[in-house]
Amino acid sequence: MFKKVLIANRGEIAVRVVRACREMGIATAAVYSEADRRALHVRYADEAYAIGPALARESYLRIDRLIEAARDSGADALHPGYGFLSENPALARACKEAGIVFIGPPASAIAAMGDKVTARQLMEEAGVPLVPGTGAGLSDEELAARGREIGFPLFVKAAAGGGGKGMRVVDDPVELERALAAARREAEKAFGDDRVYLEKALAGARHVEIQVLADAHGNTIHLGERECSIQRRHQKLVEEAPSPVVDEALRARMGDVAVRAARAVGYVNAGTIEFLLDGDQNFYFLEMNTRLQVEHPVTEMVTGVDMVKEQIRVAAGERLSVSQDDVRPRGWAIECRITAEDPYNGFLPASGRVIRLAQPGGYGVRVDGGLFEGMEVSLYYDPLLAKLIAWGHTRDEAIGRLRGALREFRIVGLPTSIPFHRWLVEQPAFLDGEFDTTFLPPDFSLPPGEQEEPLRLAAIVATLLSHEARQRFQPRTPCDDGDEASTWRPQGWKLAGRWQRLAQ
């Protein structure tokens, strides 16, 4: 087993990897940009190495600095997390050259699946069903022509993309033209590759993905599906396992196809095959994510398998600790991505300081986060603050736990997506499991509440505190201000007692 793992990431996923390593008795080395010196992953790791300024391309995206930090730390393995360089085969190759084990699939598998067009070809050969679409490397004019043939609505996707980046949905030829330019620009920027392709947008389809695990000894298994249809602009907001519409037979079929897909690219380590699933139980390959997914915890909660530990074991040449027969899901798990976005305002990214934090607890409640009091949330990185996962014996129980945990979760100092999640867990369609990827329109913004009571309560509290402040800011003598300010504490307001009535 490894002695020390360098974690080439930040935020909650870096914390997640620190935890797995720590539990396995492996030392951890974190890396941090200038914006992250005080971040949780830096403090939870055994060691920490500065790798550059806040801008990701000057730090977390610098392969040279990551390799140098790994060398300085004496790490014998590197975990890429998700995002950043996790699906860049160059990092996997640089690790290999430096004699450091990359905790992920072979560079060849990353490259094969990373080029979405190559991936489509490989999958077609392996007999994996595909969504109708084009190849890449076509000009805008060629794409426009093919687009008309396939029919609208269409997705414009980046050949090198993934995770919704550089992705656009278009409804007609005029829109297509504009979208191609924007998608190419975004793809060039995000991946250094402006090739795009088209894919038919299937109406009413769900996004359902299969988790696979493979070791270097020829064992490839799947851990069942995740339902990820609650998205806004192709960004997942809520995921669950299992899916409300996948039965045992469909799960077996999808799992078989996913395992076949992984084998087709010589896959080793954890990976995810994303499918579109239509109302007739037909499913179509979308793409393979050759890394840990943000939403891996829901699979962990129902299967009991620690996926990060499996990744590490597999990378160290060990066998998977579970066989396909050992995978017996229990209960239901749902994850909410708690982000620094304002759901009342079109999910605008927010920044600010976390001045108070209260995390939820109790049975079946898991928080994977990088959150702490005093944290400065900046706009440099992904807005994900934490993942709240609730497990229950049944979907209803899981939702009940989620509802309670969302009430307990308090992040004070900036807007977060929590109100959206609180809203979602009351929506009849969500409660019934009746939704597809169009559940949230692209421009979805949370409607303001209609209850009068919270307004009244806020008015009462603001008035009491304002009143108190006004009393306080009438200094009795000009000089005793300073000290009082530092020791003053808001007093209790109790304008009518109840206990007194009882005590008599």
């Binding site: 308090r410 008035t463 009143h467």
Partner: protein, 166 residues
């Protein structure tokens, strides 16, 4: 003491008396306790228990309750009569001032001064959180001025483009 608290356009007349808090004349049995010295409060109204956060409480109090954040303006009678605290309302008078709805970086400016634009047309692309956002004009008109250039950082509510009547 009598106050008027305004929250999301709704006004409450609130009077603090020895018997309790009168809200629009209705008596509320209120017990407000600070939990940790200034941000976090427990409120009992009658037996009903509420948790609240108060991020700041100056001219306007920012109160967090049930996951939402409410801006509450509190004025006493004198302030209200004199209108001292009423905030200035920005008035664009015929013009649309298109501001950045988020902090980010300007990736591209799609229009130039003097150009005719129609409602919904893209003006500027602002990248934030690794996503591109096309900022569009809410009105038909002519671009009067462009306040930003590609590569420039912008704060939330920074002016991007001023669109005048066509």
């Amino acid at each position: 003491m009598k106050y008027v608290a305004t929250v999301e356009g709704r006004e409450y007349e609130i009077e603090l008396t020895d018997a309790g808090v009168l809200v629009d004349g209705v008596l509320h049995d209120v017990d407000l306790q600070a939990i940790d010295g200034g941000f976090h409060y427990s409120l009992l109204v009658g037996p009903c228990s509420h948790e609240l956060f108060v991020e700041r409480c100056e001219d306007v109090c920012l109160v967090g309750l049930r996951g939402r954040r409410y801006h509450v303006k509190v004025e006493d009678e004198r302030e209200r009569r004199s209108g001292v605290r009423s905030p200035a309302v920005r008035d664009a008078a015929g013009r649309a001032e298109v501001v950045s709805p988020m902090p980010g970086m300007v990736v591209a400016v799609l229009v130039e001064e003097g150009q005719q634009v129609i409602t919904g047309q893209g003006l500027v692309i602002v990248e934030a959180m690794k996503m591109e956002n096309e900022i569009r004009t809410p009105v038909n008109g002519v671009v009067e001025s462009v306040a930003v250039a590609a590569g420039q950082g912008v704060a939330q509510n920074d002016l991007l483009v001023r669109v005048g009547p066509g």
